[in-house]
Amino acid sequence: MRYIKLPSENFGEFFNSLRAWGKVYGPVKKGKVCSFQEVHGVEEVALDYKRTTLPPKKFFVRPRDAVLKLKNGRWENGVESEPFVLFGLHSCDIHGLKILDKVYLSEPADPYYKARRENATVIGISCIPDEYCFCKSLGTDFAMDGFDLFLHELPDGWLVRVGSVRGHEIAWENEGLFEEVTEGDLANFRAFEEKRAKSFGRKLNKEGLADMLDLAYNSPVWKKYADICLACGNCTMVCPTCRCYEVCDRWLNAYEGVRERRYDSCFMESHGLVAGGHNFRPTRLDRFRHRYYCKSYFDPSAGFNCVGCGRCDEFCPAKIEHVKVLDEVRGSLQ
C-alpha cells in the first residue's frame, strides 16, 4: 500500500479535482436521513455521516433498471455507463461491493454491473461507529482493497491510502496537493484506529455461527421473531449485500418496450412462488429464516454475506435486531 498525506487546507481543491473523473456522488444529509447524491462541492458532503439509507449498491444494481430496450420487435443491448466517482464510502460498504462482485462478476458476468463497476472510482473515508455497527466482529471494519483511495482522518488533514492504479493516477494529477507521511501522522492514524476499535458497542459472536444456525433450524426463536416481523422487506432493500431482482417487460408505446429489473425481496410471498401455485417458502417463518441463513452463509473464500453495517436494524420498523436474533437462535440450542 502507498500512503500519502492530504493536508486540510488542500482538501477542497483535491475534492474539486475529482470531477475530472466523472460526476461525483457523496453522502448528503437531509434532516435525519443521509443518502448518496450528486455533489458539487465539499461543503455539500456530510463527512461524518453514519450510514446512508440505501447503500452504494444503488449505483451498480439500481432499484429500477431498464436493461434491454425493445425496438421494432428486437432487443437492443442496453449496456451504457459513464465514469463516476463515489466519494466517502465506509469500509463496510466497500466490503459489501466486494460481495456483490463475487456474484455479478462471476461467469457469465452481468454486463450492466460490470460496466458500472469499471466506470466507478471509489474513495473511502474513515468513520466512527454508532450503536448499530458491528462490522468489527465480521472483519469488515477495515478495507484492504476494493477502493482507489481511502481517506483516514487526522487532526490536520487526511492520511490517504492508495489502493489502485487509478488511485495512483488521481494522486499523480494532484501531486502538488499531497505531502509525504510523517511519523507523527502514522501515530495519529494509529491512535484514531485504536479509538475507533474501542467504540464498537455491538458484537456478533461468529464462532461456529454457520453450523450453530443450521443446527437450530427448528428453533422457536425464528417463530418468535417471524411473528413480530412486518414482512415489509426494508431490511433487504437497505442491505449492501442483498441483490435479488425481479424482471418485468413493459411497453412504452405500440412499438417500444423495456425489460426492467427491480429490487425484489425474499420477504415477499411471490419470491418462491412457481406455476401451479406451489410456494417453496410458503410461510413468513420460512421467509424470515431464509434471509438470516442467506446473510449468515459462510463462504470459505469470502466470509459471511453480512458486513455488519447496521442498516437492517436502523430501518426495521419492528425494531428487530440482527445480532440479537442470531444470538438468541444460538442460545436456544443449549
Binding site: 456474484v103 458476468a109 454486463p111 443450521d214 429489473r261 431464509h290
Partner: protein, 291 residues
C-alpha cells in the same frame, strides 16, 4: 462490446403439437444457423424462453442432444406467458438463451443401468435422457417408471406405447402407473399387464430388481414425489450419490444473479439454476430445503 448474456437468440417454431389438453410440444430451430451449430446441451439442462415484450420463463430441453438441427420444448399452459406461447403457431419466433444448468452426468453413467422415475411433467427433461440413452447405446439397460394422473395426461403417449411394445429390443423397459381409471387405461393395462397398473409411481418398483452397484436413478416430478421415490430407492440400498433428481424453483436470470432460486442454510447455499437443476440425494442431505 462484450456479449450480453441476457440477450436471447431468435428461434423459429417448426412445429407445434398438442400432447395433452394442457401441454404442447414445440419444435424449434435457431434462425441463425451459426447459433444453431454452436448450441449443444446435456439432458437435464434448460433454456430460458424469451417472449419479447412479455417476459421470460425457464423450460427444460426435452429432446435429446443426439438429434441435431432442432430442439424441443414441452410447455404446460401454467400462466400468463405460457398461455401466450400456446397461442403461437408454426413460423412464429421466440427468443432462446441457454442452455443453463448442469444437466445429468451422462458420461459418468455410461455402461450402467438407468432407472428413470418420472411424475407428470417431470417426463419432459427425462425424455431427453431416455432418447439420448437409447440413441447412444452406451447404457446397459434403461427403465422408465412413469406415473401420470389420467390417460389424457400421458405425455408423449405415442412414444410411450411404442416403447411398451418394442422397448426391450432397445434395452428399455417402460412401466406406467395411472391414478384415474378410464376405458383407455384399462385397455392399456390389458395389453401390457406386467407394465401398466393403477396406482402411483412408487408402485412400479414392485417386482423390479436393480443391481444397485450398477444402477443410477434419475428422478423428476412434482415436489411431493421425491421423498417417496427416494425412500423406495434407499430401501434397495442405492447410494445417495447415485440418486439424481432435477428440481424446479422460481427462476428469473438462469445464471446465478437474481437470487430467486437460492436454497439452503448457513452451511450450504445452492443456486438451483447454476449448481442444479440436477442434484444428487447426497446434495439434498447436505443442503436443507432442496427437497
Amino acid at each position: 462490446m462484450s456479449e450480453n448474456p441476457y440477450l436471447s437468440y431468435e428461434a423459429r417454431i417448426l412445429e407445434v403439437k398438442d400432447l395433452t389438453p394442457r401441454e404442447k410440444l414445440f419444435t424449434l430451430r435457431f434462425t441463425d444457423p451459426e447459433v444453431g451449430e454452436r448450441f449443444d446441451f446435456k439432458p437435464g439442462q434448460f433454456v430460458i424462453v424469451d417472449v419479447r415484450g412479455f417476459g421470460e420463463f425457464p423450460i427444460s430441453l426435452c429432446s435429446p442432444p443426439t438429434r441435431k438441427g432442432y430442439f424441443q420444448l414441452c410447455i404446460r399452459k401454467a400462466g400468463r406467458m405460457t398461455k401466450f406461447v400456446h397461442r403461437m403457431e408454426e413460423g412464429d419466433t421466440v427468443g432462446i438463451r441457454g442452455p443453463y444448468g448442469n444437466g445429468f452426468p451422462m458420461e459418468k453413467m455410461e455402461g450402467s443401468n438407468l432407472v428413470l422415475v418420472a411424475g407428470g411433467l417431470g417426463m419432459a427433461p427425462l425424455r431427453s435422457v431416455l432418447w439420448y440413452a437409447i440413441d447412444s447405446g452406451k447404457y446397459e439397460h434403461i427403465w422408465l417408471l412413469y406415473g401420470t394422473k389420467a390417460y389424457e395426461d400421458i405425455l408423449f403417449r405415442d412414444e410411450i406405447v411404442h416403447l411398451l411394445r418394442h422397448g426391450e429390443a432397445m434395452n428399455c423397459s417402460v412401466k406406467l402407473a395411472y391414478e384415474v381409471e378410464s376405458p383407455s387405461c384399462i385397455y392399456l393395462e390389458e395389453g401390457f399387464s406386467q407394465k401398466v397398473c393403477r396406482g402411483v409411481v412408487t408402485d412400479l418398483f414392485r417386482g423390479e430388481e436393480f443391481d444397485v452397484n450398477k444402477a443410477y436413478a434419475l428422478i423428476c416430478g412434482p415436489p411431493v414425489m421425491y421423498k417417496f421415490v427416494v425412500r423406495e430407492l434407499l430401501n434397495r440400498k442405492l447410494s445417495p450419490g447415485r440418486i439424481y433428481m432435477t428440481l424446479e424453483r422460481r427462476m428469473r436470470c438462469g445464471i446465478g444473479k437474481c437470487g430467486h432460486c437460492i436454497v439452503g442454510t448457513s452451511t450450504s447455499i445452492k443456486y438451483v439454476c447454476r449448481d442444479g437443476p440436477v442434484f444428487t440425494y447426497w446434495d439434498a442431505l447436505s443442503t436443507r430445503g432442496l427437497i
